[in-house]
Structures are given as C-alpha cells and as structure tokens.
C-alpha cells in the first residue's frame, strides 16, 4: 500500500521536524514517538500484499494452499517487537524528562547545554 508507505515517511519527517524545532523536552519526546510510529507504519505496510488475508490460519483459510492467501507475517512480527522497544525507549525518555524537570525545574532543551566543545 503506497499510501501507508507515504504516510509512514510523512510521519517520520513530521516527527523529525518536531524533534528539531520544539524546545520543550516533552514535545521532543512526542516528536520521537511520531518518528517511531512512522517507522512502524512503514514496516507494516511493506508486508501488505493486496487482496490477501491476515496470517491467521483458521477455518477461513485453505490450509493446503495457505501461503498463497495470507499477507507477510514477518513484518507484523517485527513491528510488534519494534513497538515494544519504541515504547520502552519512550518510557525511559520520559523518565529522563521527569528527572530533569525535578532537578532543574525546566523543560526547555536550551537549558541543558552546559556540556559542550
């Protein structure tokens, strides 16, 4: 599905734009989430085969000829892992944000650049 592919890339770019322009740490994390989501959509969409069903081989699928009737299960499997990992990273990022805010009472990324050169 070319549209979902386009959507995925679009989200990716939008997310990056957010990460690059937003000053608020939480918004940056959100940007990252959007990038992640975009990636996931891209992954899922490449597994799509037009006109085929989900790779769950219950009674609706002819078992003898199953491989001809279902979409690619691998991207689905991969995306699941990717999602979980994305979630994990996001959670950790948010914890960092919380911690940073607790320590410095600021959510602006500009306040965290004393390390340089």
């Amino acid at each position: 599905m070319i549209f979902s592919l386009i959507l995925g890339f679009l989200l990716l770019i939008i997310g990056l734009y957010g990460m690059l322009t937003q000053k608020n740490l939480i918004k940056i994390v959100i940007g990252f989430s959007i990038v992640d989501t975009g990636t996931h959509i891209i992954i899922v969409s490449i597994g799509y085969l037009s006109g085929k069903t989900a790779p769950i081989l219950d009674s609706t699928v002819d078992l003898a000829n199953a491989a001809k009737q279902v979409v690619d299960p691998i991207p689905s499997a991969l995306v699941l892992t990717a999602i979980v990992i994305g979630l994990a990273v996001t959670a950790l990022m948010l914890s960092f944000v919380i911690k940073l805010y607790q320590k410095n009472k600021s959510l602006s990324i500009d306040d965290y650049q004393e390390l340089k050169w």
Partner: protein
C-alpha cells in the same frame, strides 16, 4: 534563522533520500520464500494457527526474549531513574461511582487480557497485547486512586518468575532437544491444530510473556505515575 534553514535543508535532504522508495517501490505480489516457509512451518511443524505468533514466539523467539528483556530493562531503568521515594500526593478522594466502576471493570479487563495471551497462538493478539490490556486495568485503578499502593512483592515475584520461567523453558528445549533448540516449543506435545492446548510450549511462553509484560508495564506506570 540559519538553524531553521539547516533544519529545512536536512528534512528536504531526507525527503530526497526517501523519494526513490515512494517512486520506485513495487510491492511484492507473493510472499517471500522465508515467509512461505513460516506459513508452512506454522501449520506443519508447530501446529500454530496464528503464523505471526509462531514467528514471534518460535522462529524469532530470541527476538522476543530480547523484547521482553527490553521491557524488563525499561522497568529497571525507570525504577533506577526514579529511585527516590515518591511523595504522596494530596488529592481529593475519587467518587464512589468511579471506584466501584473501576473495580468492576478491572476484573473484566484482566480476564480479557488473560484470554488474549492464552489464545495468542489461535487468534490475533498474544502475550504483549494481553499484557498491555492487563496494564490498562491497573492504570484504571491508579487513575481512580492516585495514592494506591500496590503489593510490590507480588508484582516483583510475578515479574521475576515469569521471566525466569521463560528463560527456563528456552533452556529446557536446549537441554532436551539439543544445542540448536533453545526456545524450541516442541518440548511440549503439539496437540491438535486450532485447539487451546496446541502448539507445544507457545501458549505457555506467551502466557508468561503476558504476565511479564503486564507486571512490568504496571510497575513502569506506577513509578512514573507518582512523579
């Protein structure tokens, strides 16, 4: 301003880089050889109705173990980051209605969650999805009462042991079936295709994953919720 231009340039560059994918991408009409093998294998070797599940739990079981580990790590990481005692928030007690409803829903959601992860090899869903559902149940409780205290020992116990059992099941395969059989689900009988008790150890693994994911996510939400 200059930074803006650079940002724009960077994004335009990225778009230029991705454009070939959108322009020249031609979708497969057939499953890849590997996928076909998975589909066949899922039926013949693993007796698993849900091919995605067989891929996740068996063929790419190491990934999944890693994935669980990632979640576990996140729990540990969040716990490590937010390791200071959290302060009790002063809040108005939530209404009776909310509490009752949430407790009612809690049981329902938990049961649904359990259903989803135990049927991971048959229907869409599985350990992760079930685990997440279970978490939502706890989230509901937390939302209803912010100062809710969980019994951490149980949570930890579930978390630890589901993980350890998962690893142990993996190792059983390895010990029983040989050195290439880490995480081999055929240590348990494969059962009948399409039944709950089929697909060897897959449902067991998926259930353990469900428990682990549920307990871990709950811990994460609990940790972060208090901050």
């Amino acid at each position: 301003m200059i930074k803006r231009i650079f940002i724009l340039l960077a994004l335009v560059g990225l778009v230029l880089m991705f454009i070939p994918f959108l322009r020249d991408f031609d979708f497969h009409k057939e499953l890849s050889k590997l996928s076909s093998q998975y589909v066949e294998g899922s039926i013949n070797d693993l007796n698993t109705q849900n091919v995605v599940t067989s891929v996740i739990v068996t063929y790419r079981g190491l990934d999944t173990l890693g994935e669980v580990t990632v979640l576990f790590l996140t729990t540990a990481g969040v716990g490590f980051l937010l390791r200071k005692k959290k302060a009790s928030l002063k809040t108005r007690r939530s209404s009776e209605l909310l509490q009752t409803a949430s407790q009612f829903l809690f049981v329902l959601i938990i049961l649904t969650g359990i259903f989803i992860f135990t049927h991971g090899h048959l229907t869409p869903g599985g350990g992760f999805q079930g685990g997440v559902l279970i978490t939502t149940a706890f989230l509901l409780l937390i939302l209803a009462d912010v100062n809710l205290k969980f019994n951490y020992s149980i949570l930890h116990f579930v978390e630890s042991f589901s993980g350890v059992f998962y690893v142990m099941i993996g190792l059983f395969g390895f010990l029983i079936l040989g050195m290439n059989s880490f995480l081999d689900p055929t240590i348990l009988p494969l059962g009948n295709y399409g039944k709950l008790l089929s697909a060897g150890a897959i449902p067991v693994i998926y259930s353990l994953i469900g428990l682990k994911v549920g307990s871990e996510l709950t811990t994460i939400i609990d940790k972060m919720g208090g901050e």
